[in-house]
Amino acid sequence: MVDQQKLKDSEIMLKIAGYDSKALEQLYDRYAPFLYTLIKKIITDKDTAEEILSEVFVIIWRQIDNFDFKTNNVYTWLITLARNKAVDVLNRKGGKLLPEYNDDYEREYIIPKLSPEVKAIELEEVLEHKGKMEKALGSLTDAQKYVLELSYYGGMDQEEIANKLKIPTVTVKSKLQVAIGNLMQKLSEAE
């Protein structure tokens, strides 16, 4: 019998595509803490965060056909999926007017649309590079870090950030672009 602990993320996904629930359990064991950490950062309420995590795995099970097995980037797909779902719940709870949540909406706004040229990465590699990411993020100015945080974890758009910080939208736009650009540069230098 093949030890599933040693399976690659992409191999697990392939098994999930065949509706192998043991593989989904394997994915849960591997990713649940990581996804939960991200969701909890976005939604601070523990019960809601857990509910979202649970929903994310239901989405994976139901929408596995929408995973791109050519690029096989499980990590980025899962993180983006969890983030999209958590931000959607956050925005709805915050009273933002959004279309009705149904299958079409889920496919359009929750399921990640990754580039066909996105680089595949395993969770283990991500954790190995944690120090480099910390260093790269640490090199950003406080203002850059703040707008990045409001955007990524706060799910805010340019206007919302501008209103919160009482600065022009163009400034927010510029700060976000510079922050992401610098982050890319610093991370590339660290590698």
């Binding site: 849960y28 803490p33 983006t80 991500v126 939208t169």
Partner: protein
Amino acid sequence: MDKKKVLELIKLEVLSCLNEKDKEVYEDFKLSNDDFPWKELGEYQHLVSLIPSILEIKYPANDLKDKTALKLYNIREEIKAKIEAKKAIEVPAEPVSEEIVLEEEPLVEEKSGFWGNNESEEKVLVEAEEGININSDKNVPGQGSPFKIKSNFKEKTGIDTFLQDSKTETESNTVLKTSPDKDLIEKTIREYLKSHVIGEIELLKKSIKTNKILSMIFFIVSLILILALYFLK
């Protein structure tokens, strides 16, 4: 639009931070240009996904796995339908012999019952495996009191029951691929009848029609001959 401008839009897109106007421009460009920087988009998507990697890991409640399993169990019909749809695409309908049709049908019924309540209400005993976290003290709707682990056996509940069920489902799919279900069988029989028996019936009908015409001709010729003989006499 030059590449620099597209890259600036990509930086905002990966944060889901494009405004309506920019989003429209971005989507148009993405759809209409062969030289869209997909590689860069991939790199920025990857970069943004690394942002939460610096967070201190937190753990969800232990029973969340069971709750998730229950949710998955509740959508089993939807998943079953998806599996059936996939199967229909993967296994094209081929004429099957009548003996197979009649023998395989009960097997399909039997297999489809594993998602039902009977299975979920049953207590499944599995050999205990070290290192596997089974929340055996959790109740699952339809199940009795928690089962105490005795000897080297323990009760399989929640996700494990679901997982076992689902595994059986996967296994049964393999069987189902070679044993078509009721609808498929009926469809195959209809197609077989349509292509073979109905064709023969049509031929018979044509043949009867031809014979009728020939009979009429013979009858008329015979009548003429009889009349001719009568008048010659």
